[in-house]
Structure formats: C-alpha cells, structure tokens
C-alpha cells in the first residue's frame, strides 16, 4: 500500500492521507468461536506506524494524535501519543532541486547500470532526506583502499542524513532502493570524513566601503553557497567551479560590483588527496579574506 518511492515526498493532491496501521505487540486474529477479531484489554498498548504523510510533518514528541474520523463513540476512548520520528516527510520539490534533477543525461531509462545512474537513482528517491550523499563502485574503492574480494558487485555509499531522519532509516531505504534497481549489487556504508575547502579571497574595493562589512558579506555568500547545508556540498567527489564563485561574488556583494573592484579566488591544491567519502564544504575557519583598497582606476577622481 505504501508503494516504493514514496519516501521522496508526494506532490500534494489533496484527499485523505492514507495510514498504514502495523499493529505489533499482542495482536492476533485468534478466533475461538464465530467471532473474528481481537478484544484488547483495558489499558493495552499498540504501536501504530504511519508511513505516508503529505509534506514535512514533524509533530512534537509526546504530542497527542487523534483519528481522522470516529467509527463508533467507543473510539474516543483510545489515546494516541506520538513517540518517535524515524523518517520525516518531504515537501514538494522546489525549482532549484528540479533543475538539478533534470540536468542528468537523458540516457537513464529507469534501469540503472552506470555509476551515474545509481547516483541519480538515489538522489531522485531521497530528495531532502540527506545532507551529503556519495556513491562509488569497486574501481574507485580499489584506488583508495586497495583490492579486496569483498568489493566485487558492491556499491559503496556515504550518507549523512538530514534533520529529522535517522541514520538507520536512511541506510535501510538506500539498501531497498538499490536492491529494487539491481539486486546483484550489494551495498556497503562508509562513514563520512569531513575535509574543508581552504578558500582564499583577495578583494580590491573602493575606499568608501567598510572592509569588515565587505569581508562579512563575502563570507556569508560563500557559506550560503558552499557551507555544510548547501546544495553544492551535497555531492561527493566534486571539485569547485571557479566561474560559479566568481559570478556569485560579483553579483551578490555590493562592493565588488563596480568597475573599480576586482577580486581573486584561490583554492589551493589538496594536501591530502580527497576520497570519495569526504564531505567537503566551506567553513568560517577555512575562508581567508583580504580586502585591499582598489587602485584599478587611476583617473584620480577620488575613487
């Protein structure tokens, strides 16, 4: 009933949200006599698991829940309390995510064979559920940790779950997705390792601007775009694109917009070779900004 790929959140179409009731504990359909059913004792506890939501629903712990409609007046004697959230739902995909999803090659026909197709498969099905996801295969793994017979037919995944998602639930989901796509591939999870990018920016701005403010703005732009929660940091095994950084800073920092301003972005080569499980992002500590007074315009008009 809760079919595959509902994890990515449903585009809301209205209507009742179906609830799958999985009753654990002392539920049995034992029927001594003509009656089929189960008569719970007073005070007996059941566990109900809700698998479908519309959107990102996160009730507060121990908040009261209720049935959508009452069958009999006796139903009101049931007390429902929310206990645990293992996977939160997701809102409909926003335009930026959709743009990214359609940028994949059109070769993929829902039958994953290439590594890029497995990567797309996971990202498509786990939208908003992860902060970082990296998938690689035996060839890459062998380049990092050497050959091993256990690596045959294995895919390696590093995943950092997003807020509201537990590590066990997202790993179980990944195993299920890959098994549905190709059940000859086994999955192995590798813990993530954080490796920051060291970005060094030198900016020449007109003397009228406050250097501290310009520096704060530059840092904010970089962290918004490449910080730990950003879209760019979600992928593993990537390199920064300088032209994106240039375009961003030129557009978003007021002081760098004029014709007298200039800036230089340097990302030095990595001392330690990056590995596929490395979660790479930019942090306040790894950004170095140096503001100089611009001398690009020598017209001596007081710039």
């Amino acid at each position: 009933m809760a079919g595959p790929s509902n994890w990515g959140g449903s585009l809301t179409t209205g209507g009742a949200s179906p609830v799958v009731v999985v009753v654990t504990g002392a539920a049995a359909l034992a029927a001594p006599g003509p009656v089929v059913g189960y008569q719970p004792d007073s005070g007996e506890q059941f566990t109900v698991i809700v698998r479908d939501t519309h959107g990102d629903v996160r009730p507060a712990p121990a908040s009261a829940m209720s049935f959508e409609y009452m069958g009999t007046p006796a139903d009101s004697q049931m007390q429902l309390t929310f206990t645990a959230l293992s996977q939160r739902g997701a809102n409909p995909i926003d335009i930026a995510t959709m743009r990214e999803l359609v940028s994949y090659p059109s070769l993929y026909d829902r039958s994953a064979v290439y590594l890029g197709e497995f990567d797309f498969l996971l990202r498509r099905n786990l939208v908003y559920a992860y902060q970082f996801l990296s998938v690689w295969n035996e060839q890459i793994e062998e380049g990092v940790r050497g050959a091993n017979v256990h690596n045959i037919n294995r895919l390696f995944v590093t995943v950092v779950p997003a807020d509201g998602v537990t590590q066990e639930s997202i790993e179980a989901e990944i195993v299920r997705i890959i098994r549905e796509a190709d059940d000859s591939m086994r999955v192995s999870f590798v813990p993530r390792v954080i490796q920051l990018y060291a970005v060094s920016i030198t900016a020449w701005v007109s003397v009228v601007h406050d250097p501290a403010l310009v520096e704060a703005q530059i840092r904010q732009v970089l962290i918004d775009e490449y910080g730990p929660g950003s879209r760019a940091a979600q992928r593993g095994q990537e390199l920064p694109r300088f032209k994106v950084i240039h375009e961003l800073l030129s557009r978003k920092v007021e002081a760098l917009r004029g014709s007298e301003a200039d800036f230089d972005v340097v990302i030095p080569a990595d001392v330690v070779a990056p590995r596929p499980e490395n979660w790479r992002y930019v942090d306040n500590n790894s950004i170095t900004v140096s503001i100089q007074i611009a001398t690009a315009n020598l017209s001596q008009f007081g710039r």
Partner: protein, 216 residues
C-alpha cells in the same frame, strides 16, 4: 556518416514568377533562408544531433553523458555518439568494444577475467581463453575487464587521457585494466600499485603508472 550540404533552393529559384511581386517575394524568401542557413541546419537536426555540425555534436555529447575522445575521423565519432544514444545496451562490454574499435581499429582485445579459487584476489587472474573447458572448477569469474592494446601509436599520455572516457562507458560493477603491448614494451595500469582512481582526482603521472620496462 557524411554530413550533407544544405539543400539548394533551386526548385524555388527555378519556379515561375508571374509578376514583379512574386519575383520580390521569391527573392526575399531565398535571401532570408540563405542568411539563416547555418543556424537552421543545426536546428533542423536537433532530434538527430549526430547529423549536425560538429559543434552541435560536442554540445549534445556533453548533455547526454558520453565522454567522446577526439581521435579517429569525424564520421566515426558521430557513429559512436549515435550508438551511445540509440543502440546502447548499457550492460556488458558491447559498447566498450565499439569504442575500442573506433579508437584503435583491430588492435585491441577485451576480456573478463577469472580468479583462481586457491589464490588471493586480485592475484591469480586469468583470461577465459587461457583456461580449459570448465573454468568454473578452478576459477570464479570476477568483474575485472582487461583490455589489451597492441597499436604501435599508443603513448602513455594518450592512454591516460582515454582511460576515463572508456571507463565511463562500462557499468558500475566493472573494473577496467589496460595492458599495452607494443614496441616490445609491456606495461599495464595495475603496476606500481595504482589502479585507476577516477572521478575528479588527479591521476598520477604517466611515469608512475607505467612502471614497465624502458623509460617513457
């Protein structure tokens, strides 16, 4: 696959003009289409980009995820792109074989390797042709694919550049190993303990990978 020159507008220019108005309209139409011709050619084949200009092929190849290595004549490259989009089984080694034939015609061989059961993987690999009639008694099949190249024109730098494109045409579970045997100098990419580490990491220099006999 040849690229056809754009059709001439001779049927239009040979058609009868009744009066000056028709002559003007005809001349205007011919002039307009002739001006748009270069742009129109690419738009005309946007559904079959292998027929367009090579600039169009370059753009579409990137969008369709094929790493097309620039070697061999242009029709062969167009053919490969057509095969990638149109008749690509994705599984197995079929596309890899087509790609190798494009790059180095008739001087390659490509096989999946078996591993001896009594030895540690990856030592003890053997090609199926070297094993007997029932290889599964003593060996089990692995996902390593060995490509043996004998073309005398292959240089290590060229091979380094073509490694990633060739690897990207194989399914996720495969491993690609190269063995080059030409000029009495045999070297393969498994020596010096450095199999391919792809995906945006700088590959080691050619002299490190190809640590076979002879200097490069």
């Amino acid at each position: 696959m040849e690229v056809f020159s754009p059709p001439t507008l001779r049927p239009l220019s040979n058609s009868h003009e009744y009066d000056g108005l028709e002559a003007d309209v005809k001349r205007l139409a011919i002039d307009l289409i002739t001006r748009m011709r270069s742009a129109e050619r690419d738009v005309n084949v946007s559904g079959a980009p292998h027929l367009g200009s090579f600039t169009l092929v370059e753009r579409r190849v990137k969008a369709d995820g094929l790493a097309l290595y620039r070697r061999g004549d242009e029709p062969a490259m167009r053919y490969l792109y057509r095969a990638w989009v149109g008749r690509n089984p994705k599984r197995g080694l079929h596309f890899l074989r087509a790609y190798l034939q494009l790059l180095w015609p008739n001087s390659w061989s490509c096989e999946q390797l078996w591993q001896a059961k009594n030895l540690t993987y990856p030592n003890g690999l053997a090609k199926e042709s070297e094993l007997g009639a029932n290889p599964e008694i003593t060996h089990f099949i692995t996902n390593r694919v060995e490509v043996r190249l004998t073309d005398p024109s292959i240089t290590p730098n060229q091979l380094l550049q073509v490694l990633r494109p060739l690897r990207s045409t194989l399914g996720a579970k495969f491993l690609l190993i190269f063995r080059v045997e030409n000029d009495a100098r045999a070297y393969n990419t498994e020596e010096a303990g450095s199999p391919l580490y792809l995906y945006n990491v700088a590959l080691p220099e050619a002299t490190v990978i190809f640590a076979g006999a002879g200097t490069i």
